[in-house]
Every structure is written in C-alpha cells, then in structure tokens.
C-alpha cells in the first residue's frame, strides 16, 4: 500500500492546513468562493491514498480528516435538522476559510520577504569593517562601598586564619580555698552560704566559677573534718551553709548531709 511518491508529497506539507490551502487553490481563485464539501472530499481522498504514510504524521492528518467528515455531514443536513446546541456549520466552514486565508496571507508574506534582496545572499555588507572606537581602559571602576566590602573581606580572612589559642584557665585550687575559708570564717558572725567564699567573682567565667565552687566545697569538708567549721544543708540541692565551728557542734550531722 505504501506509495513513495505520495509519501514525499505529504512530507512537503506543513500540516493538514497547508494541504487544504493547496487543494483550495486548485479549486478557485477566491477562497470565499470555494466549495467546502468538494474540499473535504479531496482531502479525504488524499488521506485515503496515503494510508501507508508515516505514523507520526497520521494523528494530526486523521484528526483533521475526522473533523472535516463531520463538518461535511452537518453542511449536507437541512438547516433545521442540525441540533440547536451545535454550532452553525456555515459558521464553522467560514472559520475554516478564514484560517486558510490567514495562512495564505502569511505564505504570501514569506514569499514577499523572499523576494527582497537579502543581506549576505543578494547584497553584501562591509566584509572587513574598521573599528573606529578606541577603548580607554585607564579608568577605574571602584566606589566606597566596594572599598568597605574589601576591607571587611580582608579582615574576615585574616581573623579566620589566626591560630587557635585556648583561653588560659585560672583554676582555684583546694589549697587556695582552704586559705580563703580560714581567712574569711573569722569575719563571718554566723551561717554563710558556700558561694560567699568564692574568690572575687567578677573575673571568673562560668567554667572557672564552677571549678572554684567545687574546690571551696572540698576545702569546707576538709576543714569540717578537722573540726574547724560546721557545714549544714537543710534539704537535697538546698544551699550549703558554713560557719566557724562552735564547741558544742556535732560533726556527725555534717557527714550525713
């Protein structure tokens, strides 16, 4: 069934509308006067012959064929038999001729463009134009924001490159704490919280502060064992209180706490 000649012919058309326009041209000089029914018959005849055409071509060509066949059937029906909700077949036919006319216009437009002397084909431009501009590249494009940005970038990089030095820790030893407790207890008239006995608090960071607190507690326990002071804690996690040891104090309580 494959007809190689017909193959070539259909391949030459840019879609069904293109073929329709050619068929219409063969029919009449004026698109407005063509017979849509005859046009449909011609189109369907071509498609019938082209059964073997390439698959990817088929879909759009067959959709057009189906629509045309349907349009023809409506055009042939007496007016009153066309269902009310359907569009007027004459209007559809008119729209088809309008589309063909629009396509024809553009084919004529393409042909018109094609007759103009084209640059590089019919007329030629200067093959070796001379550049009459001199680029002055001595100027500088730089502004204050860019300068600030550069400074910040440079400083960021320099700071990121600085070697890491761990911060020196000032640790409060148990010995330091014993000395301070011994010195301060004399000045305390009564119970005082453990925290009161820390070294000067303002200069300590949280880690150093916790370490000093631990040292002071151990120092307190040490001194209590020697009977030098009393320790008291009224409840679990409650404040730890210290005072200078009084003769009647019972050291046993402390150990229990």
């Amino acid at each position: 069934m494959t007809d190689p000649v017909l193959h070539l012919r259909l391949d030459g058309y840019e879609g069904p509308l293109d073929l329709l326009l050619d068929l219409a041209r063969a029919q009449k000089l004026d698109l407005a006067g063509i017979s849509i029914v005859a046009l449909v018959d011609q189109y369907l005849a071509v498609i019938e012959q082209a059964r073997g055409m390439r698959l990817e071509l088929q879909a759009e060509w067959l959709v057009m064929a189906a629509w045309l066949a349907w349009l023809k059937s409506r055009l042939l029906l007496p007016k009153e038999e066309v269902a009310a909700e359907e569009e007027d077949p004459d209007a559809l036919a008119l729209r088809l001729t309008d589309r063909l006319a629009a396509l024809e216009q553009m084919r004529a437009g393409a042909a018109w463009l094609g007759t103009l002397p084209q640059l590089g084909r019919d007329v030629f431009a200067r093959g070796a134009p001379e550049d009459l501009t001199v680029q002055d590249r001595s100027g500088l494009r730089a502004d204050l924001p860019a300068l600030c940005q550069a400074y910040v970038a440079a400083r960021r990089r320099a700071l990121a490159l600085r070697p890491y030095r761990p911060k020196p820790r000032r640790l409060w030893s148990v010995q330091d704490a014993i000395g301070r407790l011994g010195q301060m207890l004399g000045e305390m008239p009564s119970w005082a919280m453990l925290q009161r006995f820390l070294p000067d608090g303002a200069a300590l960071d949280p880690v150093e502060r916790r370490a000093a607190l631990a040292s002071t507690l151990i120092a307190g326990l040490e001194l209590a064992r020697g009977g030098g002071l009393d320790l008291r804690q009224d409840r679990a996690f409650g404040p730890i209180l210290l005072r200078r040891a009084e003769p009647q104090a019972e050291a046993g309580d402390v150990r229990a706490a």
């Binding site: 009449k28 006319a101 463009l113 002397p117």
Partner: protein, 209 residues
Amino acid sequence: MSAPPEDPPPEEPPREAGAEPVSAGSIRLAEALLFASDRPVTPARLQPLLPEGEAAEAVLREYGRLLEGRGVVLVEAGGGFVLRTAPDLAGLLTRVVEVPRRLPRAAMEALAVIAWHQPCTRAEIEEIRGASLAQTTLEALLDHGLVAPRGHKEVPGRPTLWGTTPRFLEQFGLNSLRDLPRREELITGEAPLLAPPPAAEPGAEHPGR
C-alpha cells in the same frame, strides 16, 4: 546601471544639493564613516563631525546619489544609512564570497507570521500555520538573529512573546516595520490566490506604502 565612477576633478567648489549646502569635505567624511562601519550610520553619528551649517542627512543623501550605478550603493535600513554591494552583482560575487544557507520554507513562514503578527506566542504561530513549530525552526531564526523574545503574554503559563529584531530589518533591507506591506495587501482580490510578491527593486518603494 553600470556607469563607471568618474575621476574627481582636482578642485571643486562646495556642491549644492537642493537648498542645503554639502561640501566635498563632508562627503569624504560620510564616505569614510560609511565604509568603516558595518552598522547603519545615523545622521546623528555623522552630524558632530560636520562643519557648522551642514546637515548630516543632506550629506548622506547626496553621497547616496553619487554612488548610483557604482559597485556599492547606499541604502536606508535598520534606522540609518548603510552601504551594500549593488544587488545586480550578487550572482558574480557569490562565486567568490561565502554565502550562508537559505532559510527553509517553514522558517520563512514562521518568520512572516512573527513579522506581521508580532508580538505573538509560539502557539499563535502554530495556530496560523496549522502545523507545529519545530524546535530547529525557531533555533534557526534565533541563530540568524532575526527574532527575539519580547516579554511574556499575561495568560496562564505566561508564554514567551516573539518579535523581529533590528537585524531582521537589516537582513531584508527594510528601514522600519512600517515598510512591510499591510496584511490585507499581501493578497489582492483580482490576483491569484498566491499573489506574486511585488518585484522588489532595492531601494524602490514597496507597494504597501
């Protein structure tokens, strides 16, 4: 058509072209500028170089008149004046100058749709041609610099709108899009369905004007 250039006489007083004075020195400047440039030269580009009292446009037109019948001619295209080889020499020149490939028919038709319906979307081009637009076709037009995106159509999907470029005008020797015949004039009532396009003399007026 083939009148030869003539030796310039050694001395000549400033030439009169209509009411406006055009000096020989200005003609030389225009010639040098036009030969050096591959872009259309606007009168505004030439004007600052001219002596007081001479109009660049008059100088350019006078120079164009002097070139009539020569191997290169002056045409107005793409918003300025530009030199082109005389169209009748194309046949001989193409034997020694490289010529790019012609645009295929599909590309020419798509270009025509864009030229007369711009700005338009790809879907609109396909609707008018009744055929899908191959990617290679659009690419060919873009490669030649003949069309360019012109924003988006404000409908769902915001499809790109396409229009022609200044390069398009230059390619076809048009001075502006107004030089295109009107759509309705492309096909006349009495003419056969595919009206023969107007015989395009370079520099001649188009029937659509």
